[in-house]
Every structure is written in structure tokens, then in C-alpha cells.
Amino acid sequence: MKLVWQNPLTLIGFIIITSILLLAAIAPLIAPYDPNAINVKAILLAPSQLHLMGTDGLGRDVFSRMLYGARISLMVGFVAVGIATLIGIVLGAIAGFYRGWVDTLIMRTVDVMLSIPTFFLILAVIAFLSPSIWNIMIVIGLTSWMGVTRLVRAEFLSLRNREFVLAAQALGAKDFRLIFGHLLPNSLTPIIVSSILGIASAVLVESGLSFLGLGVQAPQASWGNILTDGKEYIQFAWWLSLFPGLAILLTVLGYNLLGDGLRDAYNPRSNQH
């Protein structure tokens, strides 16, 4: 673990992510206003001591909405990637462990999924299923498992005939035990790295959907839909567009720095660079 923190960029990523997680967790404690409270006397106020990030077109406090929006963005990232990783592990393990026709079937399905412009598919499904936060998380998860599947399969293929696996098998270990007791624990690092990078792209997809009006619906705040509101007022209220954009940028940057740093630390080949 010591190796990981030698890279200052990884540390910066870690600090960014933990700070945002912390802020999201204690949002109800530190939010100065109710994020959905409409105040007609405080419409489109510029940032001040009273409203750190100003107010929006309905007089809602942007700072409070940003804090609650962080919860949405983080949750979408975690749950969507959790679903994708779970599917990827199961399918990749089956393909890599049993090989043969199951492997062919699974990998060809991966090829099919990779040939569809995924954002189009997500857009279509969300529009049809009414955009709710749960639908968004499930759909992003169901359309982003292909990378993990390939990864787990490749790991399993390379580990399958190692001595420690063959030894366990010779000692009479069942398939289930081989997969979950021996092969999977030894493939965890690349899975974790790809999950962290996956969260980053899920956050981007969610904010993109919200921006198109097909994401988290008002009055619930998400960084994407604060930005959409901001679009209308861009000429007289820059704060409505600036802060959510920066928050998304910072979050994605944090996850990418952390994921890349972990990969470099555990991948001796890329250490040479």
C-alpha cells in the first residue's frame, strides 16, 4: 500500500473523493437551507455570504442543492458500477472457467453489446421507462458490464492453470470454491481499478442524461439538472452553470486519478514509465 501513496496524484484523487463523500454524507448537517425551499424574494442572487453559491431561478440556495446533488451523483456511480461489476464477474468467471461454448456465447454477446452505441440505448430506455434515479442506475449498469466481463475472463484464463489452482483442484475443491476462493481473490485488483474508473464515467453519463432532461427529475437536485436550469440563465447568472460543472469535473478527475494511480502501483509493467 505504501507504493500507492508515493504518487502525489493518487493522493490528490483520494483526497478529492473522500472530501466529496464526506460532504455528501453530512449534507443535512451543513446545508444552510432546505435544498427544495422556494423563496420568491431571493431569485437569482449572486454568490454572497448568505448564499455561498448564489440562488437559482426559484430562489433555491445553490450550495444546499449542490450538497444534496452530490449524494445523487455518488449514488448513481456506486450502484450502476456495482450492477455492472456483479454481472461482469459472474459472466466473466463462467466464460473463463468453463470455456467451450458458454465462453463463445458470452463473448459474442459482449461483441454485440459493444457494437451498439451505448448512449443511444441508455437514452431510449430511460425515455421509455420514465426517468427515475433507480431506472438510470439500473440502465447504466446493464449497459456497461462488457469491460469487466472481458477483464475477469482474461484473468481467469491466465490463472486457471497455475499451480495453486491445480493443487486446490487436486485436493478436491469444487468449482464454486475454486472460482470464489482462489481465482476471484487473485483477480480483484484489476476489477477494483476498472470499477473506480467506471464510476467516473457513470457520473458523466448521469449528468449528461440529466442535462438532456432525461435524468434525475425536479425538484430533486442533481448536478446535471442544476446545470440544465443554469443554461436558461447563463447570460445573467454564471454561478448556476459554473459550480455544478466544476463539481462534476472534480469528481470525475478524482476517480480517474485514484483509479490510474492504483493501476500503476499494482501493474509492474506500467511502473517503468
Binding site: 454485440v112 457494437s115 443511444f120 440505448l121 442535462f211 446545470l227 470525475v252
Partner: protein, 338 residues
């Protein structure tokens, strides 16, 4: 090589069937259809007339029968007509009995999206290649660190936000650039060089926005590829026999580092097509992304299916082209050594 190509092309058929099946069933499992969205425009539409409409579009039949009908028409390259926009053909133009030509929706939208993507690809190659090479040659010095910072920011910046900021800054505050559509008012009255100049100005922001993520990705890719290659034995050999350093870098290292880039470009096509939704709806550009977005909101099934299918075909053709170029560029693959 020929048998390999044939196999690859034949393989595209089951792949396409799989893609269309997935898209079709997802589309039809969701509640609601075109009559739901049409009815919201015309609340007086009775249940009876909605049933008539469903019968007209075959929406009252089981999904599997609808899929069969769709495939049957597709076999004749007929993607059907749009539900929402007055029966316009989805894919290619049709001529009615009076000789009036109706242009296809994809026929009009696809060239626009392709133009933007080709231009942004050129921009990516033009900027990312030098950046990647400089970064690798100056490894861990300040140019490398600066470029790495740019790469991380490029990956993390939400394209729609950057688009919004640039629109505001270059379009609203300074009016340097037009910010919506592809043509200014009165475009038809301009001379053709002025028309091209006008369209080019409209293309600056959308092309830049489409390129930004790729720019970051390809710079990083070229950098890492160069670093990998520079540590190979044949580079040491080339240095040992006293070859000029420029020749080593551009003649030996860069050529080998660029090989995998061909595959990357092939793989990035679905992302480019998918990414066009956001850029095109922000800048009001009538391309594939905008068309898809509008079709999705109207539940215009034939248009949605048409775009997904054409997108998938483009992706597969892109991958095929990438493999062929790879074989052409790498003599080891060409001669079947690998």
C-alpha cells in the same frame, strides 16, 4: 487473407441480428408507444382512433411478429417510414407517383454527423500525435507533466458543460462564433466560398467539443505506446549502430507506436456516434444524435431502430476497416506470422 475477410463479413450477419433483437425487444417491452405521445398533443384523440393508429403501424400485433415484419422490410433495405413526421422515409429517399422526391431522415442527418466526426478525428490526430510524442520524449519533465494534466482534465471535463461555457464566452459575450445550427440566416444567398466559410464557422465549436475526450485519450495512448516502444531491443540496436536520433524516433519508434492506434479508432466509433447526441442538441445541429433524441421523445420506433441499426453497421464496418488497415500496415499480420 481473403478467407479471413469473408469470415469476418459473414460474422457480421448474426451480430446484426443480435443487435437488432436486443434493440427491438427493449424498445417494445417498455410501456407506451407512438399513440401515447401523439395523444398528449391531441387530448381529444379517442381510444378508438388510437386503436386504429396502432393497427396502421402494426403495433397491435405480438412483438415477435412485429420483429418479423421489420426484418422482412429490412431485407429490401427498407427501414420503413417515420411515425411522427408525416410518413417520411427513415433511411433513403423515395419518389412518389408524381415524381416528388422525399429525402430520407438518416440520409440527411448521417452526412452531417460524419462530417463533424471526421473533422474532429483530423483535429485529434493533428494535436494528439505531437503531444503524445513530446510527452514521451520529455518523460517526467515539465512538458510531460503539463500534457498529463491536460489529459486528466480532458477526461474529466463534461463535454456539455464545456460546450455551454464556450458558447457563452465565444458566442454571447464576444460574438466571435455562431452558436447554433450549421447555417446563418440568408445562407442561400451567399456565394459558395462564403457558404463554406459560414458553415465552417458554425462547425468550430461542435467539432472541438466532440474532439476533446478523444484528444486526451489519444495523447495518453501515443505517449504510453512511444514509451513502450522506446524500451524495445530494436531501438537499442538502432542506437547502437549509430542511427540518427530523429530517424530512430520518427522512422522506427513512432511507426510501431502508431499501429495499435488503428484499432483504437475502430473501437471508438460507437462512442463517437453516441456522443453526438449531446453536442448536436446543444448546438441545434440536425445530425444523427439530434434525430435520435427527437425520435426517442416521440417513441418513433422505425426511426430509433433505423439509427441503432445503421450505427451498429457503421461500428462493424469501422472495426473491419481497422483490421484490414492493421494487416496492411503490419507485415507480420499480413504474412500470417502472428
Amino acid at each position: 487473407m481473403a478467407s479471413y475477410l469473408l469470415k469476418r463479413i459473414l460474422w457480421m450477419v448474426p451480430l446484426l441480428v443480435g443487435i437488432s433483437l436486443i434493440s427491438f425487444f427493449i424498445m417494445h417491452l417498455a410501456p407506451g408507444d407512438i399513440t401515447t405521445s401523439e395523444a398528449s398533443f391531441n387530448p381529444k384523440a379517442s381510444e378508438e382512433s388510437r386503436q386504429k393508429l396502432r393497427a396502421l403501424y402494426n403495433l397491435d400485433k405480438p412483438v415477435i411478429v412485429q420483429y418479423g415484419l421489420w426484418v422482412k422490410r429490412l431485407a429490401k433495405l427498407d427501414f420503413g417510414t417515420s411515425f411522427a413526421s408525416h410518413q417520411r422515409p427513415v433511411f433513403w429517399q423515395t419518389t412518389d407517383k408524381d415524381g416528388n422526391v422525399t429525402l430520407g431522415m438518416i440520409q440527411e442527418a448521417l452526412p452531417i454527423t460524419l462530417l463533424i466526426n471526421v473533422l474532429s478525428l483530423l483535429l485529434i490526430i493533428g494535436i494528439a500525435l505531437p503531444l503524445g510524442v513530446i510527452s514521451a520524449l520529455k518523460q517526467n519533465q515539465w512538458p510531460d507533466r503539463g500534457i498529463t494534466l491536460f489529459v486528466f482534465l480532458g477526461f474529466a471535463i463534461p463535454g456539455f458543460w464545456l460546450a455551454l461555457m464556450l458558447m457563452y464566452w465565444t458566442g454571447v459575450q464576444h460574438s466571435w462564433l455562431p452558436i447554433s445550427g450549421l447555417e446563418s440566416m440568408g445562407h442561400e444567398n451567399l456565394t459558395w466560398p462564403a457558404q463554406i466559410w459560414d458553415t465552417l464557422q458554425h462547425l468550430v465549436l461542435p467539432v472541438f467539443i466532440s474532439a476533446i475526450t478523444g484528444l486526451a485519450g489519444i495523447s495518453l495512448f501515443v505517449r504510453n505506446g512511444m514509451l513502450d516502444v522506446l524500451h524495445q531491443d530494436y531501438i537499442t540496436t538502432a542506437r547502437a549502430k549509430g542511427l540518427n536520433e530523429n530517424k530512430i524516433i520518427y522512422g522506427h519508434a513512432l511507426r510501431n507506436a502508431l499501429l495499435p492506434l488503428i484499432t483504437i479508432f475502430g473501437l471508438s466509433i460507437p462512442g463517437l456516434i453516441g456522443g453526438s447526441v449531446i453536442a448536436e442538441s446543444i448546438f441545434a445541429i440536425p445530425g444523427m444524435g439530434k434525430l435520435f433524441y427527437d425520435a426517442v421523445l416521440m417513441r418513433d420506433f422505425p426511426v430509433i431502430m433505423g439509427i441503432l441499426t445503421i450505427g451498429a453497421i457503421l461500428t462493424m464496418l469501422g472495426n473491419l476497416l481497422a483490421d484490414i488497415s492493421y494487416a496492411w500496415a503490419d507485415p507480420r499480420v499480413r504474412r500470417g506470422v502472428m
